[in-house]
């Protein structure tokens, strides 16, 4: 893999000169869970302004990859690095992680939940927390439920409230692990629209999903033993 990665660095550097946009680059990544190697020698690049959809069968390592990028799991070998116009903050601090759990407190209202995350996740914004919370609630159609305890919301509504974190604090990288679970068709379209908007604003989205999400031009990265990992994922290769 050494001979493989050397020319890659060259192209990455020349890209950088041409374009100072954010780029997430995983180099020869190997990740183990327990004693099992889940991801072996994976090299890929994700650029700002694109959505990278992780596909593959159950257990292929989609969640593991997302959690590795999010900084929860340390890779056995290889590394993940950011290039381009980034501050000196760590990768996890530039990422929104939306996992299987929603991160919603049942005993707080929808609005309080989001206000807490807005303050806690920080981020530079010219607008006040209350404005951002209202925007996020509006974006996910939860404005009418703002004052209800989140424990009374349905599974799909809780999911939307969890996803509203994406709007309430601005971060360039979105890590979404099966974001459409328990969402209805309308909400899935809503989410796809927001992902599209984030990409248009030079954001970077990495999502593990079984659904096509209806994005315009996603790139696919197929994980799992059936297909070798490539640094140039073929477009439209997903099932």
């Amino acid at each position: 893999m050494q001979t493989h990665s050397a020319p890659f660095h060259k192209t990455a550097c020349s890209t950088l000169k041409r374009d100072d946009r954010l780029q997430l680059h995983a180099d020869n990544l190997t990740v183990e869970r327990g004693t099992r190697t889940v991801i072996a020698n994976l090299t890929f690049t994700a650029n700002a302004g694109e959505a990278l959809l992780l596909t593959g069968p159950n257990g292929a390592g989609k969640t593991t990859l997302i959690r590795t990028i999010g900084g929860f799991i340390a890779p056995v070998s290889g590394k993940i690095a950011l290039k381009g116009d980034v501050s000196d903050r760590d990768i996890p601090e530039l990422c929104h992680y939306v996992g299987h759990l929603t991160g919603v407190k049942a005993n707080l209202t929808a609005e309080q939940n989001l206000a807490f995350w807005a303050e806690y996740l920080g981020g530079v914004s010219t607008r006040s927390i209350a404005e951002r919370v209202d925007d996020a609630l509006d974006a996910f159609g939860l404005l009418a439920l703002a004052d209800y305890p989140a424990g009374l919301l349905s599974a799909g509504q809780k999911r939307r409230l969890g996803l509203a974190r994406l709007i309430v604090a601005e971060r360039p990288i979105w890590l979404l692990d099966e974001p459409t679970v328990s969402l209805d068709a309308a909400s899935t379209t809503l989410l796809a629209g927001l992902i599209q908007r984030h990409i248009a604003n030079d954001g970077l989205v990495i999502a593990a999903t079984h659904l096509p999400l209806g994005l315009e031009q996603p790139r696919y990265l197929r994980l799992g033993s059936s297909a070798p990992a490539t640094d140039e994922p073929t477009q439209g290769a997903a099932p």
Binding site: C95, H96, G99, L101, N107, L108, L121, G122
Partner: protein, 222 residues
Amino acid sequence: MNGFFALLRRDLMLAVREGSALGTALGFYLVVVAMLPLGLGPDLKLLTRIAPGVLWIALLLAALLSLPRMFEADHEDGSLEVMATAPLPLELAVAAKALAHWISTGIPLALMAPVLGLMLNLELSLTPALVATMLAGTPAVSFLGSIGAALTLKARRGGLLLALLVLPLYVPTLIFGISAIGFAGIGQDGFAASLLVLMAVSVASIAVAPVAAAAALRLQLS
């Protein structure tokens, strides 16, 4: 530091809304102390002598009851994962949660102690000393407890394991808490010294425990 106070405020608000943690701790404290005279009989001299020790030990056990929940709720609903990606270091997040635990559990227990002292025929003149030692010592209970709570986060029935891990760490607090009250009882000036050592134990645990607990949490999240 905005995140620190946001988390502290949220945890206190949740403690008030949920209420069960504090209710259980206070109730347990009351029941244990109330049962003791029933078991030992109405020997007032004996009760007076053992009152400070009983109040301290029962307080430690009562505080222990609510420790497992310190990170459990945030782990179950996924908040902990999101917190790990926040600009606020996990160490400070642990400190905020331990501080919230102290305010919502440690302080109420310390303030309830003199009331329970009446049942044990505690000398009234000792009440200020008792409350002072407990307020000075209970931060160590919450902060050292955060280490155990983080370590046993994913353990099934982690409560007992938590007690085994954490109770030995409470020994210095217990010893100096009791000795301070002892000195106050015989009117010697050793009270101040013991109280200062008690505070030192608390300050040291505030400094060290968040680092250890955050390391344990990172391990649990991976």
